[in-house]
């Protein structure tokens, strides 16, 4: 090998390394992204622990409706394949529009515009459906629970009033660890 070859080899090596890192990173990012979704999915179960639905409808399954092809939907199926929420088997229903909304306990709202949000929210008003979103301001708008990220951690904000108005009971412990929008002062 002559000196030139080595030089060429070395550069190649560097490039390969950088590529690797990038891929890894992106993979991580991707992973991270998918991780985030997974975490949200898992959180659902956790959340539901602290929440009691208005009428413990004796439904055999815990239906989670996922609106508008929320990527969360796929993950949910994975996560809750074997897991139970509220001691019920989890059924994931993907819906495109509200009319398809039948019996469900939990509704995952994706990032939609405000008017649509209102529509949805109005639709589910009075129904014992826990609305969960992961878009900013949605909790103020009326979503019961909204995921957000704070300091690299998945947090959620709870619209307590709305929830309680809807007949949901929220364990204070949950409230304690979440950002409470519209707190009910007692």
């Amino acid at each position: 090998m002559n000196r030139n070859q080595t030089h060429i080899n070395f550069s190649l090596q560097i490039i390969i390394v950088f590529l690797f890192i990038f891929l890894l990173g992106s993979g991580t990012m991707l992973q991270a992204q998918s991780d985030e979704q997974t975490m949200k999915a898992v959180a659902l179960e956790k959340l539901s622990l602290f929440i009691s639905w208005p009428e413990n409808t004796p439904s055999k399954e815990f239906v989670i409706c996922v609106l508008n092809q929320n990527p969360l939907g796929d993950i949910l199926e994975d996560v809750y394949k074997d897991k139970k929420i509220k001691d019920k088997k989890v059924k994931i229903v993907k819906i495109k529009n509200l009319q398809e909304l039948t019996e469900c306990q939990l509704l995952l709202i994706p990032t939609i515009n405000k008017s649509e949000l209102n529509k949805v929210l109005n639709y589910v008003k009075g129904k014992p459906i826990l609305t969960i979103s992961d878009s900013e301001g949605f909790a103020e708008a009326g979503c019961f629970i909204n995921f957000y990220e704070y300091e690299n951690k998945l947090r959620f904000e709870i619209n307590q009033k709305s929830m309680e108005n809807a007949g949901f009971k929220i364990d204070y412990r949950l409230l304690k660890v979440s950002k409470v929008i519209n707190p009910v002062i007692e």
């Binding site: 956790k46 622990l49 951690k153 947090r155 412990r173 304690k176 660890v177």
Partner: protein, 919 residues
């Protein structure tokens, strides 16, 4: 445990109570504490779990959602529980610490691994693990580390309080116990004390006071029983002991009396001893032995001991008297059996002696009779201070005693008799032995048949020289010389039973033969028939006889052949014997004619007075020699010297005289002649002396005049010579000077000689003035005269002090001058002249000497020294005239002394002169 046994009941009880209480208290309170502690711990656990639950619930949500901040926040609320030191949360999906809490800034605590639910006390902390479940979902585990120090402190406090409490309680228990223990201990102690007292004092009469009916009470009861039993037994034993003691005493008495009997051989001693034993060993107050006097038939006191006072005086046990013979003593003697009175005070038989007896304290008595085969009767009486002292058992022994005493007395009697016989026998034997052994006469005993020597006495041994052993192994014939043996043997055969006197010869051990006279007779000796002979050694007698005969012969011959006459007279001066010579001397042919006649018949009348005088002296026993004139038969005188001596008998009484008479008629004549001659001689001597004296006087005059006359011309010579010398000495030549000198010397010499001669002659003539003179001063004077001679000389003087003498002063001085002068002169050649004077005092003279260490002289010529003009040294050596010593001799001679000298050539000389010692 042993020590515990030895503590007093009181203490034991108290200790038991206190220890029981202590145990109970401690056990109780400890149990309480333990339970309390358990409870507290439980509480704490519960509390902790509760806290864990609460906080855990709070932390459930954060755990579930993984919100660390919130979790931390919740954990921090744990600071409200001060006991929680550290806490942490474990998330549900991993063992890692989710959130931790530390009370203090010390964050060093290492949280343990995740654990199942538990609440454990470990290392002083309570560790609580609590699985947080929400809605049956496991969210995570909360761990709390809670400090248990509170518990410990609480425990400590509790213990402290408990201990103080226990202590207080125990103290009170102690007091209460001390009080209450008395209920049990005091009766026991009381019992113990009493028991001690009882056993110490051996007093079983004590009875205990009843104390209740409990076990101690029963003990008391039984104890009292025991005491009374013991008391009973003690009393019984005491009684028995008394009996034994009494019996023992009697045994001891018996034993000792037996001992005494064995050892004591004298009657009185034995009886005394028996009484003593009775008192000392038998414990009786008084004992006495009485023997019946066969003449008076009264009992006499032969021995007594103990408190007799005057009881035994006049006791008057008269066996003839009906009353006085009925006392114990009398009755026992009469009946031969023992009699006792156990109550003297009330005994009728003792009435005569009662008062005295009671005064002495005799309460009971006994009399034990004894008797011997002779007519010795008596009794031993014993007195005791107790009533009813004598009873069966003792009586037996006492009777034995009496029997033994009787035997003893019997035995003593026999013994005494035997001894007496023995004594007599011994005495006679001794007599015989003495007679035989000590007899001064020689005694021998021989057996008749065998002639063996059986005995010889000391005199024999001494005389013959044999030892007893030797002689006893010999036969009689061995003592005889060979030529007599047969004769004596045959003689003895004939002598059986006869007395014999005879003369024989014996041979001593050393072989000398002696003549003996034997006087013998037969006797029985040691069972054999023998003869005893008294030997008289007559050897000397025989010899004496022979000597006497011979001497008689000798004397007869002497007398007959003596040159002297021998005339013996009896007390009346009658002639008893004259020898032939005497008769012849007086002209008698036959001495018969003189025998029986008075000696005076043969004497001249003039001599008779003197004769009678002499006879008187003779009668007085005085012997003497004297002259005596006897008358010859013819009538002429015969001159004799009589040596007359008295004849005295053995009593020194005058028996007569014997005279040895020597005829000195011839001698007498010769004497007369001598006398005549003597007187002639005297006359001649007187003549001669006168002649000598006159001659002497002439000589003196001559020498005086000679010397005087000689002097004159000499004086001239020397005088003129001096003048010549003075005047013309220088003019002379040497020879001339020499001639002059010689002449001077010669003339001087002559002068000296003449002087000396003069002195000498003077000394011969001068009268002596005798006086007591001091020799010392004399010598000093002499020395001062000799001053010139001593000047410049080294002389060692040794002048001994001298006494005073009786002599002529100037003459003696002259002597000293001469002698000292000589000494000085003849020591001139010595460096140091030693001149010594001294004296020796004899009985009749004083010897003076002067010694020098000068030239000395040859002793061979000593005689010449003192001669006139005699000199032993040449003039060149020592000058001198030779008259000095002659002078000395003459002077000393006139003083009736002697002069002599000793000397050795060159060794010095010593000159001696003596003067009569006037003392």
């Amino acid at each position: 445990m042993n020590t515990f046994k030895n503590i007093s009941i009181k203490t034991k009880l108290v200790i038991i109570i206190i220890s029981t209480s202590t145990v109970a208290l401690i056990a109780g309170l400890a149990t309480y504490l333990i339970f309390d502690m358990a409870r507290v711990k439980n509480e704490m656990k519960k509390n902790a779990i509760l806290n864990a639950t609460i906080v855990g619930q709070y932390a459930a949500a954060p755990l579930l959602f993984g919100y660390k901040e919130e979790a931390l926040d919740i954990m921090s609320k744990l600071n409200t529980i001060p006991s929680v030191i550290d806490a942490c949360l474990y998330s549900s999906d991993s063992d890692e610490i989710f959130a931790a809490y530390h009370k203090t800034t010390d964050t060093s605590f290492c949280f343990p691994h995740l654990h199942d639910d538990e609440a454990l006390f470990k290392d002083g902390f309570l560790h609580v693990f609590y699985a947080i479940k929400y809605e049956e979902k496991y969210c995570g585990t909360i761990y709390l580390r809670i400090s248990a120090s509170a518990i410990h402190e609480k425990l400590r406090n509790s213990i402290l309080i408990m201990s103080s409490l226990i202590l207080l309680i125990l103290i009170s228990v102690f007091f209460i116990a001390s009080r209450l223990q008395k209920l049990i201990s005091s009766p026991i102690l009381n019992l113990a004390e009493l028991t001690a007292t009882i056993s110490q004092n051996q007093d079983f009469t004590v009875q205990l006071k009843q104390q209740g009916n409990d076990e101690v009470g029963i003990l008391y009861q039984q104890f009292n029983n025991l005491l009374s039993q013991l008391l009973k037994r003690q009393n019984e034993r005491d009684k028995a002991e008394e009996k034994i003691v009494k019996l023992n005493r009697v045994y001891v008495v018996l034993g000792n009396v037996n001992q005494a009997i064995v050892h004591v051989r004298k009657k009185q001693e034995l009886l005394d001893k028996i009484c003593q034993i009775a008192i000392n060993d038998g414990n009786f107050i008084m004992a006495w032995i009485g023997i019946v006097n066969p003449e008076t038939n009264k009992v006499e006191v032969v021995a007594s001991c103990g408190k007799t006072n005057n009881y035994l005086d006049n006791i008057n046990i008269d066996l003839n008297n009906t009353i006085y013979s009925q006392g114990p003593t009398g009755k026992s003697i009469l009946t031969g059996k023992h009699v006792f009175s156990n109550d003297i005070a009330n005994d009728k038989a003792m009435i005569p002696w009662r008062e005295k007896a009671l005064k002495n304290g005799y309460k009971s008595s006994i009399s034990l009779p004894f008797k011997t085969s002779g007519n010795l009767r008596g009794a031993l009486s014993l007195y005791s201070g107790d009533e009813n002292y004598f009873n069966e058992t003792e009586l037996e022994l006492l009777n034995k005693l009496a029997m033994n005493v009787s035997y003893a007395l019997e035995f003593i009697k026999i013994e005494t008799e035997r001894k007496q016989i023995e004594e007599v026998l011994k005495e006679s034997e001794a007599h015989f032995r003495y007679l035989f052994e000590q007899n001064p006469a020689i005694l021998l005993i021989y057996e008749l048949s065998s002639l063996t020597m059986l005995a010889v006495n000391d005199a024999f041994i001494k005389h013959y020289g044999y030892t007893k052993e030797e002689i006893l192994s010999m036969k009689l014939t061995d003592l005889y010389p060979e030529n007599e043996k047969e004769a004596i043997t045959s003689l003895i055969k004939k002598l059986i039973g006869l007395v014999y006197v005879g003369e024989w010869h014996h041979i001593k051990k050393d072989g000398t033969q002696i003549t003996i006279e034997v006087n013998s007779h037969g006797l029985s000796f040691q069972g054999r028939s023998a003869r005893i002979g008294v030997i008289n050694d007559i050897t000397e007698r025989k010899q004496a006889e022979k000597a006497l005969r011979e001497s008689e012969e000798k004397y007869r011959r002497i007398v007959d052949t003596a040159n002297e006459g021998i005339w013996t007279l009896d007390q009346d001066t009658r002639t008893t014997f004259v020898n032939a010579r005497m008769a012849e001397m007086l002209g008698y042919s036959d001495n018969e004619m003189m025998i029986g006649r008075l000696i005076t018949d043969f004497m001249f009348e003039d001599d008779l007075p003197d004769h009678y005088e002499k006879m008187e002296r003779r009668r007085k026993g005085i012997s003497e020699n004297y002259e005596r004139r006897f008358m010859h038969k013819d009538g002429h005188a015969v001159w004799t010297i009589v040596s007359g001596s008295s004849i005295l008998d053995d009593k020194n009484l005058f028996m007569g005289t014997v005279g040895m008479i020597t005829n000195i008629t011839n001698r007498k004549q010769a004497e007369e002649e001598i006398l005549k001659l003597n007187s002639e001689l005297e006359n001649r001597v007187i003549e001669r002396t006168a002649q000598l004296e006159s001659a002497n006087k002439e000589l003196e005059a001559f020498s005086y005049s000679v010397s005087h006359d000689l002097r004159a011309p000499l004086r001239h010579v020397s005088g003129f010579l001096e003048l010549l010398t003075k005047r013309n000495f220088e003019q002379l030549d040497d020879k001339g000077k020499h001639y002059v000198q010689s002449i001077l010397e010669a003339s001087n010499q002559m002068g000296v000689l003449i002087d000396d001669l003069l002195n000498f002659s003077r000394a011969g003539r001068t009268e002596m003035k005798m006086d007591s003179i001091d020799m010392n001063r004399l010598i000093k004077d002499a020395l001062s005269i000799l001053e010139n001679e001593t000047m410049g000389r080294t002389i060692e003087w040794k002048l001994a002090p001298m006494p005073n003498v009786y002599a002529d002063y100037s003459m003696m001085r002259q002597v000293w001058v001469n002698l000292l002068g000589n000494a000085i002169k003849y020591t001139r050649k010595r460096k140091v002249a030693k001149i010594e004077t001294g004296i020796t005092t004899e009985a009749d003279e004083i010897i003076f000497f002067i010694r020098d260490n000068g030239a000395g002289f040859d002793m061979n010529y000593a005689q010449k020294l003192f001669g006139v003009f005699q000199r032993l040294h040449p003039m060149e050596d020592f000058e001198g005239t030779g008259i000095g010593l002659a002078n000395v001799r003459q002077i000393i001679k006139r003083h009736k002394g002697r002069t002599w000298a000793e000397g050795e050539v060159d060794k010095g000389a010593t000159f001696y002169f003596s003067l009569p010692n006037r003392h």
